[in-house]
């Protein structure tokens, strides 16, 4: 007992203040698209190595809803077309917000009526629908003392009856489809769905398998997509706070 109290005193505060800044290299965060990417062969070079078909060499776009942040495109073009920054803030929002074409930095749009609806609290039921458990672990990590999701009035709950919405991971396996829909239906209206990770947005690396639905959007109306494979806990935090209209640049507690 004494030892635990001593340890607590020695450890002090470990919770991260927001905004937390860039992560260390070689972390692959927000991709930066250079002008060279718009030249025909560079985008072509990048798309050739992309196993998830996230890069469209015609339209010269990169779809973060498919991208698993493997970094192969950056290596293929030697960083001349696409370079990954260490910024964990990724564009989140509707599915189409995840497709990047230029250097602009689309930020999360706050859902207009959520504030009046939820006040300052949000309770989520998490469902893993065919994921690999990577996204689930990062969602779980939000509860640890470092990210401390609860300080923002946001928490995971055991029953959908207690929830304002769903946090879904995975491409939606056919075997989880029914359970996912039933969990959604058990939540009182109005309810929101947040889909996290490349699988939940598009099927990710499993897209096209006989056993999956290629993303949550095929089954439920999704209000917020957060890209990544898996998204870093900070990416999740920024995404959810931004969606609630609580930008970390201002005081997120309000």
């Amino acid at each position: 007992m004494l030892e635990s109290i001593r340890k607590r005193a020695r450890t002090g505060k470990v919770t991260l203040d927001l905004p937390a800044g860039d992560l260390p290299t070689p972390f692959r965060g927000m991709p930066v698209i250079a002008d060279a990417f718009r030249s025909a062969n560079v985008a072509e070079e990048c798309s050739r190595v992309c196993a998830t078909e996230a890069i469209d060499p015609e339209k010269k776009t990169i779809d973060l809803g498919r991208c698993v942040f493997c970094g192969l495109c950056e290596e293929a073009c030697d960083g001349e077309g696409i370079r990954f920054s260490q910024d964990p803030r990724l564009p989140c929002g509707k599915r189409e917000h995840l497709v990047l074409g230029g250097r602009e930095f689309p930020t999360v749009k706050a859902a207009p009526d959520l504030r009046s609806l939820l006040g300052r609290s949000l309770h989520l039921r998490e469902v893993s629908a065919g994921g690999c458990n990577g996204c689930d672990l990062e969602a779980q990590a939000l509860g640890n003392p470092i990210f401390d999701l609860q300080r923002f009035g946001i928490d995971f709950v055991a029953s959908p009856r207690h929830a304002d919405g769903l946090l879904v991971t995975g491409p939606v396996s056919k075997n989880m489809r029914e359970a996912l829909v039933k969990t959604y239906e058990a939540i009182a209206e109005p309810r929101i769905v947040i889909a996290i990770g490349a699988c939940a947005a598009s099927g990710g690396i499993f897209r096209g398998s006989y056993a999956v639905e290629n993303g949550v959007g095929a089954v439920l109306p999704v209000a917020l997509f957060i890209p990544g494979c898996p998204p870093h806990p900070l990416t999740l935090l920024y995404g959810i706070l931004g969606f609630l209209g609580r930008s970390p640049e201002k005081n997120p507690r309000r």
Binding site: A51, G71, S128, A129, N133, N144, P171, K174, N175
Partner: protein, 503 residues
Amino acid sequence: MHCVHTFELGKSAPRTEEAFRAFLRETSGGNNRLLALFAEEYSSGRFLLHAVAGGSVPGRFVHACVETSPRSFRTFTDVCPGAHLFEREIYDLFGLVPEGHPELNPLRFHEGWPKRSFPLRSVGAPAPDARRGYRFLQVRGEGIHEVAVGPVHAGVIEPGHFRFSCAGETIQNLEIRLGYQHKGIESLFPGSPGMGRILLSESISGDTAVGHSTACARLLEAITGNPADPSAERWRAVALEIERISNHCGDLGGLSTDIGYLFGAAHFGRLRGAALNLLLKITGNRFGRGLNRIGGIGPRVPGIAQEELIAALGSLRAEVESVGATMLDAPSVVARMEGTGRLLSRTAATLQFVGMAARASGRDVDARRDFPSPAYVEAPPAKVLLDAGDVMARAGVRVMEMRASFDWLPGVLTGAIPPGTIATEGNAPAAGRRLIVSVEEGWRGEIVHAAIVDDESRITRFKVVDPSFRNWPGLLFAVQKNVISDFPVCNKSFNLSYSGADL
């Protein structure tokens, strides 16, 4: 290499059914174990069953195959209990019925699937479909009641359905229905471009991205004749041990949560994060995604200087040791974990359980010794073995294994390790029909990847075995006669992957 083996299929004729049965019988003894049992449609409508085993002699793999009728084969579970789940899987994927199987419940497919659809079978299945709805074992008797949990559980965790039959608070029987996470991953390997396979392997079980991608990379390297250089192999081993440490910390935190020991939950949750952040500094991702390439490791790996990593591991070690000692000494922790969820060593041996859970039940199996990869050949981390088989032992094994890894890591990190070179993917030489097997000890236990390639070195069948697939039945035995309120802590003490088992 001791961890990868190639069998020339042209040189070994299929055995008779009796010889194949004898082969499987021999796999159930001592350290010898069945690593994988799987079917292959080798030409339209013609099927082979393949078995790969080994373990008693370091680096020695054995293989046997048998031709089976397109309808069914006689079950091998009676001579090799470890074959039980593999046969159910073969039925779901290929429509080959294991006649006489003790419990042919669907494993991969649930009620909503169309009849007669067997995804790895090209020609129609023989009518009629022997598949029926899932039947749970029913316990009858006075005062027996059932408790059904899942597939969606209370925590932030993967789905599975647990059906308890209890007398009062005591669990008489537990049945676990899995398959909810099935995403057909084996079917995606053959058609995927080279690096796509590495990305797939990183997503077999997200918490074991390093273990699976390392096993997969070595297998692809054996096919393309393009092995990684020793420095790359050293970085792979470093990442594997840090992956082990991060997950063991996470599990000790999870165990603490389940027994209401908040000190352990908070500290181990934080220390798990510290270990993941080291993986991020090495590979660019908290789970070690991006570590592996075919023929080496990623060109940006490692993103941290060796001295900095050694120092960081030193301070992490000090914290893990002190929190671990405080936890395992706390009377409230010991009272909940000692004697709870006991898995007998006899059961662990008969059912051929693997990895950390088996080592907590006195079963001396560890792929780092039995199938050592290059960095482990000379001196792997110290052996850890306990025999109580209870939750306390599984917690203790984790603490001791972390100590062994912390002891071992500075040695492998000392002296120059240039970042491994990464060769180009290489063009696979044409070399006849082959079966390549690759094994690595992930943090839960041994990971097995196997691939069959045709005359032109194209992959035609890919098989993945996560240690969870082999260990799930262990939980069923461990919880019997325990009170149902101890189930969460028993479950966490195994912490098996649903995704890895469901594929």
